[in-house]
């Protein structure tokens, strides 16, 4: 999602300094540009951890945490959109979902676990490929209010 009205580089540059120098806030202003970035609680995290950041999965999660309500995986396993290769997916982008409705299956130790939506609304995005492995807490769907 690139915008020609937001100078992402400029913001990134300031954030970079915030991280490198482990600051809680940086405010920068020049002719026609003003950038202010802050990180409160997570400075502790900025202090080593981003340095010592986890491998792939967790980083991705940090960066790509999607907006809106999210249905995330309650367990480690393999994600399936449908109960069987033949049957249709439980939900697709655009389908309405209600609390408690089954949205996918996660297979763990040969067990097919039906995952229910914690949210009401419309499926805005599916964040995982069919038959892909997922870890605990990994976002599966993004749900937006109908």
């Amino acid at each position: 999602m690139a915008s020609n009205r937001v100078d992402r580089e400029a913001i990134e540059a300031v954030v970079e300094i915030l991280d490198e120098r482990r600051l809680t806030e940086v405010e920068y202003e020049v002719e026609g540009l003003r950038v202010r970035v802050a990180r409160s609680g997570t400075v502790v995290a900025a202090d080593g951890p981003p340095a010592v950041a986890p491998a792939g999965a967790a980083v991705a999660e940090a960066e790509e945490r999607p907006s809106g309500a999210v249905i995330s995986s309650p367990m480690v396993g393999t994600f399936y959109v449908a109960s069987s290769p033949e049957s249709p997916p439980f939900v697709e982008v655009g389908s309405p979902v209600s609390k408690g409705q089954v949205v996918c299956i996660i297979e763990a130790m040969k067990l097919m676990n039906e995952i229910e939506s914690e949210h009401e609304g419309v499926v805005a995005q599916r964040l995982v490929e069919n038959a892909q492995g997922v870890e605990y807490g990994q976002p599966l769907f993004r749900v937006e209010p109908a």
Binding site: G48, A55, A57, G133, E135
Partner: protein, 446 residues
């Protein structure tokens, strides 16, 4: 050899396992709880899978989550490290059923060693000296009385499936036996689901001596000599050394031989530690067998030159012992390990929190095993081990001197640690003379 191994543990031992895998060119998959996102084992593994919440029951003890992670990541073996699922026969069986190699002894052996009374019987039958006591579990207070009379007081009652002092009773006066028996039964029942008890002669302040063994799948076992682990506080080891004091090569050779034969006959495979008590007449008596790699394994590695975790991987992959540990192993020099725990040196209470600065000691004769770094958090959910510092010397005096230096030059801030206590131990005349038993710490603090 394995392509990918799942590391079913955390902290320093997870790093130790990853290192051994890297040395053998084996890929690694770390699992971690949400509390361990920023830990070094997650960083240094080739792949990392979050398996659950902070509590061990949700993550590092969560068998379905770990097996699923193993399947999703498509590993061919799992190394459990120590603690958590390391000696869980049920877990080992599930691995087997899923076609994943559990790096440790067979489920059968794990089950046998998990039952203290059976382990004791097996050891006795295999020719390992055991304390006078009951052959199997004792059902009735009558049986207990007879057994105690035969063995002679003081005696100790232990839970068959016990551990950590629960369901344990020391009885010095025959009149107390009846009550102690019933209390211990209730306690054991509550703690372990089984109230079965066994009885042994109780040795007052024994020395704690343990032997390191390695076995292959084909019945050959080698014993790599002993470790002296008598410096304990409430059954928690604080400092270990190898070789043991006043032990002697001749006796070591004899015990190594006895244990190799005995464990071979039991069909013991992979790494294990045989624990003994030593009474004041220097007799050794079998206590239990820890069917896993031990926290204190580095002291044996340092004096024997054998990489024990590497050996575990090779043996689990089916290598014959001859190929893993070729030729005779002899000890050279002396090694001492201090377990640096996050705890208050006065109150001994765990001191969880954020490590604001950590600069471990290094230099001549020092090995450090640690997963700590500046900014790392010691979580209340897990054990409080921050680092293992091992000092090697050509002799014991040099090892002690280097350990003093290393602890003195260890920068660890933000939490309290056991370092002051360990520095004090290193100054105690009884320790310096190498004449101490499991009563050492209480006497020192008295």
């Amino acid at each position: 050899m394995f392509d990918r191994v799942l590391i079913a543990n955390r902290g320093e031992i997870a790093l130790r396992l990853i290192a051994a895998c890297r040395d053998l060119g084996i890929g690694t998959v770390a699992v971690y709880s949400t509390a361990d996102r920023d830990s070094l084992h997650v960083r240094h593994a080739d792949e990392a899978v979050c398996i659950g919440g902070p509590r061990s029951s949700e993550s590092y003890l969560n068998i379905p989550a770990i097996i699923s992670a193993a399947e999703v990541a498509d590993v061919d073996a799992i190394h459990p490290g120590y603690g958590f699922l390391a000696e869980d026969a049920h877990f080992a069986e599930i691995c087997k059923d899923c076609g994943i190699q559990f790096i440790g002894p067979s489920p059968e052996v794990l089950r046998m060693m998990g039952d203290k009374a059976r382990a004791r019987r097996a050891a006795k039958e295999a020719g390992i000296p055991v304390l006078p006591g009951s052959v199997g579990p004792l059902a009735t207070s009558a049986a207990v009385r007879d057994c105690a009379r035969r063995v002679g007081f003081p005696v100790i009652l232990k839970a068959v499936s016990g551990g950590g002092g629960r369901g344990m009773r020391i009885v010095r006066d025959p009149d107390d036996l009846e009550d102690a028996f019933h209390q211990a039964q209730r306690e054991a029942g509550a703690a372990f689901g089984s109230g079965d008890l066994y009885l042994e002669r109780f040795v007052e302040n024994p020395r704690h001596i343990e032997f390191q063994v390695l076995g292959d799948r084909y019945g050959s076992v080698v014993s790599l000599g002993e470790r002296e682990c008598s410096i304990q506080r409430r059954h928690q080891k604080l400092l270990e050394e190898a070789p043991a004091n006043q032990f002697g090569a001749e006796r070591r050779a004899r015990m190594n031989q006895v244990l190799s034969r005995a464990l071979g006959s039991i069909g013991y495979s992979n790494a294990g530690t045989v624990e003994f008590v030593m009474d004041d007449s220097d007799e050794l008596y079998f206590i239990e067998l820890n069917a896993r790699i031990q926290v204190e394994h580095p002291v044996t590695e340092v004096v024997t030159g054998v990489d024990l975790v590497r050996s575990q991987l090779l043996l689990a992959a089916g290598e014959p012992l001859q190929a893993v540990v070729p030729g005779p192993v002899d000890l050279s020099g002396h090694a001492i390990e201090c377990r640096i725990n996050a705890e208050d040196p006065e109150t001994f209470l765990p001191s969880a929190g954020r490590v604001t600065q950590f600069a471990p000691p290094g230099g001549c004769g020092i090995r450090v095993d640690s997963a700590a770094y500046a900014g790392w958090t010691v979580h209340p959910y897990y054990d409080s081990l921050v680092a293992k510092i091992v000092a090697r010397g050509t002799n014991r005096a040099e090892a002690i001197q280097r350990m003093r230096r290393a602890l003195g030059m260890c920068v660890l801030e933000g939490i309290k640690s056991s370092i002051p206590l360990q520095l004090r131990i290193l100054e105690e005349p009884a320790f310096i003379e190498g004449r101490y038993d499991t009563g050492f710490i209480d006497r020192m603090l008295a």
